[in-house]
Symmetry: C2
Subunit: 178 residues, 2 copies
Amino acid sequence: MSLAYAILAVLADHDCSGYDLAKQFDGSVGYFWAATHQQIYRELGRLEELGWVKSDRIEQSDRPNKNLFAITALGQQEMVKWISEPTKPTRHKEDLLIKLFAGGLVPAEQLVRVLQRERERHLQQLKTYQAIEVKHFPSPETLPHPHRCQYLTLRQGIRNEQSWLAWCDEAIPCLEKQ
Amino acid sequence: MSLAYAILAVLADHDCSGYDLAKQFDGSVGYFWAATHQQIYRELGRLEELGWVKSDRIEQSDRPNKNLFAITALGQQEMVKWISEPTKPTRHKEDLLIKLFAGGLVPAEQLVRVLQRERERHLQQLKTYQAIEVKHFPSPETLPHPHRCQYLTLRQGIRNEQSWLAWCDEAIPCLEKQ
DNA sequence: CAGAGCATGTAAGAGGTTACATGATTAC
DNA sequence: GTAATCATGTAACCTCTTACATGCTCTG
């Protein structure tokens, strides 16, 4: 169900084709809700049936035609309703922690290598986020409400990556000095 | 596929019935890999077919009989192999961040209430983790390798909750002073 | 003229959720 | 005697992933 709201959240910001949405889910929203284009097209069909979004066929001469989707008044209403409903606790899924949990099966050095790879990934992701912060949110104090909200989602991403890095820097020495 | 490895990770630590596993997935491993008992029973069936686990029927007079599952040598081998394979990046799914992303649709005060509820949840989860830390890992320096690994998964959980709390404490005032 | 990007889709299969079902024992 | 715990399962349904498919335009 949440995918529907993730799509609405993007459309609340600006109209999109399915293709545009898929790209957004490959960055920005995709950082906290992943979806493939197949999921998106299916969900858009459902949302249109429900009347939460509507589409307009845009004829293009230079490119393939496209369906431009927009959120409807009903869709906005449903989004607002959902925001106030209790938020479902996230069910975390971290392959890395499964590996660590079973880490007793392999030598510490091997785990250290696994963690170093992970550390590198989080470092790159942090850099990506920080580049977005510098480029798109140079003065957060002056942001209007809607953009301030989006800025805060980015801040969460940044803090999350920093937290992973700090943990890696605790875990790697801990495994090394055995 | 990862569910299989999550089950193996638990069985690598100690033999379990399906029921025991389901309870573990309701705490400990469940903190980073959620699964219901139905998923677990189905997966155990598959794993037994593959020969990665084996089961023994335990007849009990006071309670229902149970199947006690144990990891096989092949299962251990597969687990070790998987640990060294590249770790799939986690696809995050955070309902809360969808809500914030679309936060422009509702007044800031309403979002603040949503965040305060979330903050409370993370605070409770942190307390749960810290209680486990105090009770089960009073002196982490002296832990043998396998338990040290499990301890580090707990440390990740703690840091993650702390990071969410710190973010809430940034986001709430940011929304309030508009 | 090859490859990347635009734009949309089908189909099959794996993974996950929810509801229903059974039946015994133990604790209050 | 009512609820919780132990213990295992079926069935239906929804969601997600992966692979395959088409065809056009623009860029180098």
